[in-house]
Symmetry: C2
Subunit: 588 residues, 2 copies
Amino acid sequence: MTAERWLAKFAAALAKNDIDGAAALFAPGGFWRDLVAFTWTIKTFEGRAEVKAMLAAVLSNARPSGWTIRGAPSSDETWFTFETAVGRGLGHLRLREGRAWTLLTTLQELKGFEEKAGRTREWGTEHGVLPERKSWLEKKIDRGNALLSGERQPYVLIVGGGQGGIALAARLKRLEVPALVVEQNERAGDSWRKRYKSLCLHDPVWYDHMPYIPFPDHWPVFSPKDRIGDWLEMYVKVMDLDYWTSTKCVHAAFDEAKQLWDVELNREGRLLSVKPTHLVLATGMSGMPNMPQIPGAESFKGRLVHSSTHPGGEGWRGKRCVVLGSNNSAHDIAADLWEHGAEEVTMIQRSPTVVVRSEMLMEHAWGKLYSQAALEAGISTELADLTLAATPFRLLPQMQKPVYEEIRKRDAELYAGLDRAGFRTHFGEDSSGLHSIYLRRGAGYYIDVGASQMIIDGRIKLEHGTIDRLSENAVVFSGGKELQADLLVCATGYGSMNGWAAKLISKEVADKVGKCWGLGSDTKYDPGPWVGELRNMWKPTQQPNLWFHGGNLMQSRHYSLYLALQLKARLEGIPAPVYYLDPVHHLE
Amino acid sequence: MTAERWLAKFAAALAKNDIDGAAALFAPGGFWRDLVAFTWTIKTFEGRAEVKAMLAAVLSNARPSGWTIRGAPSSDETWFTFETAVGRGLGHLRLREGRAWTLLTTLQELKGFEEKAGRTREWGTEHGVLPERKSWLEKKIDRGNALLSGERQPYVLIVGGGQGGIALAARLKRLEVPALVVEQNERAGDSWRKRYKSLCLHDPVWYDHMPYIPFPDHWPVFSPKDRIGDWLEMYVKVMDLDYWTSTKCVHAAFDEAKQLWDVELNREGRLLSVKPTHLVLATGMSGMPNMPQIPGAESFKGRLVHSSTHPGGEGWRGKRCVVLGSNNSAHDIAADLWEHGAEEVTMIQRSPTVVVRSEMLMEHAWGKLYSQAALEAGISTELADLTLAATPFRLLPQMQKPVYEEIRKRDAELYAGLDRAGFRTHFGEDSSGLHSIYLRRGAGYYIDVGASQMIIDGRIKLEHGTIDRLSENAVVFSGGKELQADLLVCATGYGSMNGWAAKLISKEVADKVGKCWGLGSDTKYDPGPWVGELRNMWKPTQQPNLWFHGGNLMQSRHYSLYLALQLKARLEGIPAPVYYLDPVHHLE
C-alpha cells in the first residue's frame, strides 16, 4: 500500500468512526505521536491497543477530515495536512510493509484564530478621520500602564524571560493572547550574558532560530553568548512583547474558586500582584542550580561558586583552580581558566561523560536537518523541526546507535587519548549517544570544542573521587588526598524544573506535578516506567493552569507553538478536552 | 532573435572587442543601464552612439565573460548573470524586434571579496586552545575603544544614521569595510521617532525591508514611525555596527596630500577628530529643512515651526492652526490637528499637488512588485528591486501615464471633490504621476490616507496665495486677507543634499559637486539638461572621496549595495576606473 492509499483508507475509517479499522492500519508495533491535534496534549501511542483507546476517547470531538498529501510522497513516506473540528494540522507518515510504522499529527492553527500574517497582517494605520486617534506608541504606552496598574490582567504570566519565555510570548502575541513575561535580570538576554565569558552556543545556528525572525545568513555558526543576548533583547523589542525586566516572581497560588493565579511580583523593588489565568514556568529546563553542600566550605579561603555564577577565567592567572564536574560547562570553564593563565586547572570527574566533537555532531547528527546543506536542499527550519518530531522517542536510541558507532570509529584517536588520560567516556548505557542522554537527563555530555585535547595533553589535570571536605586552601578527597585550590567551581548542574514550582508555588503543587523532563527510559537519573514524552513539558500537568516551558533553542521554538495553541484555545473557549495527564513521577 | 540568442551574440561580440557589433545589437533608441558593473558609476546610455563610446572606454578593463541565462527566459526578456575581470553581475534584457530595447547590468559582488554568508559565515567560536583568548564581547569593546581613541580609523565615515546610513553600514560590515556611522540623535531610529506623532510610512511593508533582516510577516502594511524607529535601533545592534549616537559632524575637510578626510565630530559634547578615507553624507535625501523667512515672525505670538520639528496635534485643542504647504507632511499634520480637536485647521496651498490614494498606489503602482501577491508569485524583494532598476528613467513617464489615467478614472469622485473644494491637483507636467515627481523633485505629492476627504468636507479649510507677513496673531496674505493663527506649521520641504555639503564641508565643495537628486527632466524644480540618473546619488562625485546616499527605504536598501561595492573596491585596491562624472548642475 502506498502512503497516498494508506492515508485515504485511514481518513475513510476515521470518517465512519471505524476505530478498529483505523487501528488495523498500524503495524502491530506502530506509533502515533500526537502534538495537541487529537489529544490536546503531547503523547505518543505505541501499538494498536493504545491507538484504539485514544481514538475511542477523542474521535467524536476531533472529527478529523480533509486529509491531503503535501508535496511529493515517496512510496512509504509522506507529509500531509488535515483538519479537526477546530483546527488545521500537519502530519507525517512512515509505512512499513503497507502499515503505519510511525504517524505524526500536529496542530498548526485554530480555525478562525489564525495568526495575522502575510495577507492578513495589520494595516498599521487607519486611513480616514478618527477624532482623538492614538498613535501606535501611545497605545503601547497605555497598554503598558494598564498592565502596571492592574487595570489590565495578562491571561498568561510567563515566569522567566530567556529564549523559552520569549519564544512563547512571541507566539502568544501573534495569537492575540494577552501575556506578560517577567524576567529577574535587568535586560532581556542577560540569562546568556551573565554566564561564563567564553560560552558560545554548542548547537549550530540552523538549530537556533527564534520563531518569525530568523538570524540573518551571516550569523555565526556557534553564536557567542553576548550576541545571543543582544538578539533576544532586540527580539523582545521588535516583537513588541509585554516584558518586565528586573522583576522576580515572589509567590504564586492558584485560586480554585476564581480559577485564577494570585501572583506576587517584585518589580524593581516594588511589590505588585497580578492575576493571570495561566502560569507558565519558563525558568530554564535546567531548574535551579545544584550546589553541593561541602563540609568546611565556610573555612575555605579560596572562592567557591556554582558554574552559573562563575564569570570567567579572568583574574585567575597564576592561581590553582578546580572544577567539579565533567560536562559542558565544566569543560568550557576549565579551558577558559587555562587560557587565562591559571597555574593549575584540575577537573574532578565523578561519572563518565558522553563526549562528542562538535564537528562530528554537525556532520553526523544535525547535518541532515540543521545545516546550510539541508537549507539549500529545501529543508526549512519548520520542516526540520517537524521531521525531528516525526520520530517517536522510543525509536531514537536504535537510530542513534549506528551514528555513534561511526563517530567512535572516526574519532578513535580522541577516545583512546581520553582513555589514556584517565577520562572516562561512554555513549550512555545503551550507547545511543548525546541526543538520548539530553532527553533523559538534560545533562551528562560534553560537545567537544577543544578541551578534550587539553585533558589528553595534561593541560587540564584530572581527578576522580568524592570530595570529603574543604580545608582552608585545599579540596580534600575521601581518600585523604589534598588538592590545593584558590578556586572551586561547582559545575554540578541543575535540578528539575519542578524545583521552581516548589519554590514559587508550594511543595504540594510541586509534588502533585512531579518531576519535569525525562522519558522514563529506566536509565541512570531517568527511572521508569516509560512515558515516551518529556514529562510535564509544554502540555497540561496535574496542576490545572500550570505549564512548563523550556529546553534548548530548537525546543523553545518548536514546542512553543503547541503550548501557545493550547493557551489560545482556552482563552477563546474552544473545547480542548485533554485525553491524558502524565502520572506523577518520583517526587522530590 | 530570442533573448538567449541575443545574449550569446552580445557575449561573442564583447569577447572579440567588436564594439560596433555589440552596439548594433541594440535598437536604435535602445538603453543600457549600468549599475557599477562596467562603468564604476551609475549611468544609463541612450542609443548606440553612447553605448559605443562607453564600451570603447571600459571594455578592456571590464573584460566581461560567462554570460548565462538565469531562470526561464521568455522570447524577448530574460535575467542573466555575467562576470567582469573583478566581479560577478546580474542583468536583465528586454528585446524589441530582436534588438535590445533595454539592457541592465549590475555588479553584485567582487571576486575574492564575497560577503561571508551561508556556507562561508564565521564559525563564531574558535575551537582549540588559545591562550588569552578574547570573547566576542571583549573584542567588540576593544574595537569600540580603539575607534574612540583614534587608534583605529574608519575607512568610511557615514554622516547620518537613518535608514540610508544604516543600510550602507550593514553592507559595509558584511564586506568587512571599516565604517563608522555618526548620528546626532540620542538613539538610532530617532530620525523617525521625532517626527509628528501620526506619521506612518506611506509606502507598504514589502517596499521597506532593510537588507539581510526582512521584517517578519506580521509587520503592518504601513509601519507607524515609532515602530520603524525601534526596528532600526535593533538593526544597528544586531548587525553589530559601529554607530555613535549623540554625535554631530561639525566640519569636514579633504586633505588632498594625504587623501584623507579630516573630520571634526562632537560626541556627547566632546570634540573628536577622525580621519576616514571616504565621507558619505547620508543626512536624508531631503537635505536641510526649508524654513521660509516670513516678515513679522518675531512679533508673532503663536507658535511657528517647520514640519520637521512639529511634534503632533496634541495641545492644540480649540486653537486655530495653519499649515503652509500641501504635500504629504502638510496633509498628515493638518488631519492630525483636526483629530486632536483644533478649532480651525487651514492648509495654504501654493502650487498643485499630485494626490493619489494609498489604495490606488498599492493596486496599480507597487502591487506588481511589492505586495503579498508579488511575494507569493516568487518575486523576492531583491528581484523586485532589480526589476524596477531594469526600466531606464527615460521610459518611466510613458509607462506611468496609463496607470494614472486609470487612477483618475477610478477615483474620479475624489478628484472632482477636491476640485470643488478648490484644492488643485495634477499628475505632473506630463501627467506621469507620483513616481516621476518623486524622482524629479523628491516632493510635490500626497499619498492620500484620508485627509483629502477632510478637505472635500471642509473640515480642513483651504487658502491659496502668498503669505505677506505675520501679525501678532494672524497670517496676513499679500492681498491683505488675515487668517487668525495660534500655530503656523511650515510644511515647506527640504533643500538639496548638497546643502549639507556646504554646511559640513564648504561652499566650494558644495558648488563643485552641484545639486543632488533630480533627473534633468526639464520640468519645474528639475531643470535640464537630461542626465538620466539621480544626480550625485550613490556614485562618484566631482569631489573625490565624497559620496551621497539616501532616499526612501527601497532606495536605501538597493542602492547601498552599489555604493558599498564601490567603497570595497577602493579599500582593496581593485581597479575601479570611473567612466563618467555628472557635470555640475545649477549651483546653489
